[in-house]
């Protein structure tokens, strides 16, 4: 039994491959300790610790990019191209969130207690997400997912006094527990069928051909259910709008990117390793023949994007609208999964990269507005474009990119996804996705309409609003790639391509 075959952790592996993660652990502990020392009265201490720690981990992760990876902790996790790519993405997300939360009234408002915890928790979530992208073993898969989940529950309920926030947290916990249980059942089936906890062992077991097709289908569907919950894909999305709306906005921003991208990283590794036929990735020829994986994914993808977009149409609360929009984007992303081809997975990675910039930008803009207006409702946003012209213009860039129109990065990302799917002749899916983009235009530009087009009512306050300099900086830093990656995406797409290549050739 491989379960019992656990190597003694090799400490030098930790130092070479896992340096960013070790740094994150240290940062988390230091931030907690620092907060304890100042008794929660000076949030600047944990903030600074988190900032410095994340920056250092980020630099370290960037320098590890493209370096030959390896396994850590006795083969439980692997640091390869895929993990290195996602690690940077998560650390960047964590860093941006920490910076923006510092200026957010919801997090740092005068009445709030234990502000420092927020920064420690963000670091912890980042760490757990990194591990999710590295897991190559069922045990680690489940552990890392639960780690991300538990930190998320705490962060969703961060505003203890707020009913909305508490409700969000509770919903998150209940949905999370149920879906974890479902997934665990699926994992146990897989283990039972193949006798291995390792992804590659599972594949070897499946490849013997001695597997009941129906049993495999049940197992895959159950595992997929758990992961669908994590990425908020239909029909396991119900928690997302409520949690995103209820949680403090910087937390929603983090949720809409971090755990979601981690879910995708895990899905890529798990399903590609266990189900795809081999490194050449013409998957439809291999094991996958036993179950109709492409059709399953295509239906989930189409349903998710259509549902997200149609419901988002009717939202007047920007935060809730962005929650549904992020469901829709999961639908687009799942298109890349339909065939488990290299091109599709590379498109997913590039899309996630772009999505991180544009979605964080859109959410952070809501944070900035919230500080002044205390409202996420579109009716209160009328005329905002003339009160904060620069920030609102940046928001237009994020919205345009989310819609997927050139010259913004969202277009380039969609182009790759569409091309990957069309290459395998899944025309109906591409047409559905194209029409969905048109639908999404309507609600994204409802925000533009409120900010710029509508005339404010008589006597409305039209005084200019100034943002914190940090907010301008972060929004600007997010807007630059959102614009530039739409026109010059070659290099960054190359990054995503190599990440997938390194994973597939490493198999």
């Amino acid at each position: 039994m491989e379960l019992l075959h656990v190597n003694i952790p090799n400490w030098s592996d930790l130092a070479t491959h896992w340096r960013p993660e070790v740094m994150l652990v240290g940062t988390f502990l230091l931030a907690l300790l620092g907060d304890l020392v100042v008794r929660g009265r000076r949030p600047a201490v944990p903030f600074t610790v988190a900032l410095v720690g994340l920056t250092m981990a980020g630099i370290c992760a960037v320098r590890k990019l493209g370096v030959e990876g390896g396994t850590v902790m006795g083969d439980l996790v692997v640091v390869d191209g895929l993990a290195a790519f996602f690690r940077i993405l998560f650390i960047f997300t964590g860093l941006a969130t920490v910076l923006f939360a510092w200026t957010s009234e919801e997090i740092m408002g005068k009445k709030r207690e234990n502000k420092g915890e927020f920064f420690a928790l963000t670091v912890l979530l980042t760490l757990a997400a990194c591990v999710m992208a590295e897991a190559r073993d069922l045990l680690m898969l489940f552990l890392s997912m639960e780690a991300v989940g538990i930190v998320s529950y705490v962060m969703a309920g961060y505003m203890r006094g707020s009913l909305r926030s508490t409700e969000a947290s509770l919903k998150y916990v209940i949905f999370g527990a149920v879906s974890s249980a479902i997934m665990l059942y699926g994992l146990s089936l897989l283990y039972g069928m193949t006798g291995s906890m390792q992804f590659e062992g599972i594949r070897a077991g499946l490849q013997t051909g001695d597997v009941n097709a129906f049993g495999l289908l049940v197992a895959v569907v159950l595992v997929m259910a758990g992961m669908s919950y994590k990425i908020a894909a239909v029909p396991f999305h119900y928690w997302a709008p409520d949690v995103y709306e209820g949680a403090p906005t910087p937390v929603s921003a983090l949720f809409s990117v971090g755990p979601k991208a981690a879910g995708f990283a895990l899905m890529i590794r798990f399903f590609y390793t266990t189900l795809a036929a081999g490194p050449d990735a013409n998957a439809s020829a291999g094991l996958i023949a036993q179950i109709n994986w492409p059709l399953l994914m295509a239906v989930i993808s189409a349903a998710t994007m259509t549902y997200g977009n149609l419901v988002a149409l009717r939202q007047a609360n920007v935060k809730r609208m962005l929650a549904y929009s992020s469901i829709a984007h999961v639908g687009y992303l799942l298109m890349g999964f339909v065939l488990l081809t290299d091109a599709g997975l590379q498109a997913i990675l590039f899309y996630l990269l772009v999505y991180t910039f544009m979605n964080l930008g859109a959410f952070f803009f809501v944070v900035a507005v919230n500080n002044h207006l205390k409202s996420e409702h579109l009716d209160d946003w009328v005329g905002l474009g003339f009160r904060m012209p620069w920030a609102a213009s940046l928001m237009i860039i994020f919205l345009g990119s989310l819609t997927g129109i050139p010259p913004f990065a969202g277009f380039a990302a969609k182009l790759y996804l569409f091309t990957a799917v069309m290459d395998r002749q899944w025309f109906w899916l591409v047409i559905v996705a194209g029409l969905n983009s048109v639908i999404s235009l309507y609600y994204y530009f409802k925000v533009a309409k409120a900010m710029f087009l509508m005339s404010p009512p008589e006597g409305a306050d039209m005084s200019p609003l100034k943002l914190h300099w940090l907010q301008y900086t972060v929004l600007g830093v997010l807007a630059i790639p959102t614009l530039a990656l739409g026109l010059f995406f070659g290099r960054f797409k190359g990054l995503a391509d190599r990440a997938i290549e390194m994973m597939t050739t490493g198999l």
């Binding site: 129109i405 050139p406 010259p407 277009f411 091309t419 047409i431 530009f445 309409k449 710029f452 087009l453």
Partner: protein, 498 residues
């Protein structure tokens, strides 16, 4: 600027927009001057282009060809031929005049002129791009500025009109995008053997793989591209965004919409659909001719029913673009040359009409045809200018509108006799709605309400007179434009129809 003349024409306005973004919004005169200068440079370069353009060759000129995104084989490939040159000239001319015509915009000038210049860049790029991806990017770049230009500075129903325009166009472009990806995946670059976005490679049927040679696929792709372009033209039944957008948009934006944007639809069909899918083009030609006839008659009848001047002019555009379609469908020398000439002429004539409507709207603050009367006495110069534009629109011989339409009918008659005869009715209805409006607004008893309306101002004349001169000149002697395009267009017919 000699080397990269097309790039300068396209991107100089963007530089202007960037400069404007950093001028304080109180310095209104500075902003306007910068905008005018930024729009003047492409115009000057356009004159240079007109001088240096080689009329004899059918190949692309002023070519700029660079690798842009290597991993996807996207190129920065610009170049113009006889089909694009008239459009490039038209864009440069109208953009500059529209900046002048926008001088009295009195709301957020900074945003207005910055967006306007980005819009110009997008239009210019569409007419110069020879890489399908590049073409698509320029095509879409225009949407955002147009949305805001209609939506912020437009009339009472601007919000509705702006999003309607945006949604319609995006729906069309998504279809175009899918067709583009299909072409990309199934065209081989003869040099590298990879996929390509290079339009010239896509024109060459030998580079299409076997999938792309299936008749059904080709017809589907044609339809996808066609709907994308048809929404822009707009071709019945995709035209319903047009009256809304034209009516709500501020004057200068209406001019750009009718003068340049509509041409992009027919330009796209001629530039992309025809040479890439010539067999499908021939197969669909009768349908195109019939749609053209529907556009002519339906647009004309709708125009007749309007009581709002601007709406009347908007529907007259639908009708006039129908002639272009009709000429394109014939695949005869006269037909296709007439069509492109009509594209150019309609751009100038309709620009005059919209500018004239803008003049009266600025003074009377309404455009009700029945609300005026006897304006000829009150505003004699204005009346003569507007009448000149209206006569050009109805196709009076001696003015440019006549030449294009006459050529189109000469080209179409031998091929689609019935359609041509039915469409010719459009000329009569066209004369009817134009003259009827002329009569109601300018003739008859004077309306005392407008006793103190000042006549047309010098600035307004500056925008109108240059176009008027062109309308007259090309009405008497259209050869300067025809010579530009003849070689390329005749070659296009040879390629498509054999």
């Amino acid at each position: 600027m000699g080397e990269h003349i097309l790039s300068w024409m396209t991107f100089f306005p963007v530089i202007g927009a960037a400069v404007i973004a950093f001028i304080p919004s109180e310095r209104k005169e500075v902003i306007k001057t910068v905008a005018a200068a930024a729009a003047a440079v492409p115009l000057i370069l356009a004159v240079k282009l007109f001088m240096e353009f080689d009329r004899a060759t059918t190949s692309f000129q002023f070519v700029e060809h660079y690798t842009w995104i290597k991993s996807f084989n996207i190129e920065y490939f610009m170049g113009i031929d006889g089909l694009s040159v008239p459009m490039v000239l038209l864009t440069a001319l109208l953009s500059f005049l529209c900046v002048i015509a926008s001088w009295n915009i009195a709301k957020a000038e900074k945003g207005y002129f910055a967006l306007f210049l980005i819009l110009e860049a997008g239009m210019m790029g569409v007419f110069c791009a020879l890489d399908f991806f590049l073409f698509y990017v320029f095509w879409e770049v225009m949407l955002l500025p147009m949305y805001f230009l209609i939506g912020i500075w437009g009339g009472p129903r601007r919000e509705y009109a702006a999003i309607k325009f945006f949604l319609y166009t995006l729906a069309g472009s998504v279809l175009m995008l899918l067709a583009m990806i299909a072409f990309y995946l199934n065209t081989t670059d003869p040099v590298t053997g990879g996929h390509t976005f290079n339009m010239l490679h896509m024109f060459d049927q030998a580079n299409h793989n076997s999938w792309l040679q299936l008749t059904n696929i080709r017809h589907l792709l044609w339809l996808g591209l066609f709907i994308g372009f048809a929404i822009k033209v707009p071709i019945f039944p995709f035209h319903t965004w047009l009256p809304d957008a034209h009516v709500e948009a501020p004057t200068a934006v209406s001019v750009i919409l009718a003068g340049v944007l509509l041409k992009m639809g027919t330009y796209g069909i001629l530039r992309i659909s025809y040479p890439m899918l010539p067999d499908a083009a021939v197969w669909f030609a009768p349908a195109l001719a019939i749609l053209g006839a529907i556009n002519i008659l339906y647009g004309a009848y709708c125009a007749m029913a309007q009581t709002d001047m601007k709406k009347l002019v908007a529907y007259s555009s639908v009708s006039h673009m129908g002639y272009v379609l009709l000429g394109m469908a014939a695949f005869t020398e006269a037909g296709i040359n007439g069509a492109v000439l009509q594209m150019f002429n309609h751009g100038t004539i309709t620009a005059m009409m919209f500018l004239c409507v803008g003049v009266i709207y600025d003074r009377a603050h309404h455009r009700e045809i029945n609300g005026f009367g006897g304006l000829g006495l009150q505003m004699p110069i204005y009346t003569s200018v507007f009448s000149f534009a209206l006569f050009a629109a109805l196709g009076l011989p001696g003015l440019s509108g006549f030449v294009g339409e006459a050529m189109i009918f000469m080209g179409v008659f031998p091929v689609y006799r019935t359609v041509a005869i039915v469409s010719a009715l459009g000329l009569i209805i066209g004369a009817a709605y134009v003259l009827w409006m002329l009569q109601r607004v300018f003739l008859g008893p004077k309306n005392d309400k407008y006793d103190d309306l000042p006549d047309i101002s010098t600035r307004e004349l500056v925008t109108l007179v240059p176009i008027g001169i062109l309308v007259l000149l090309f009405g008497v002697y259209p050869m300067p434009v025809l010579n530009l395009m003849k070689a390329s267009l005749n070659n296009l017919i040879k390629v498509v129809a054999g």
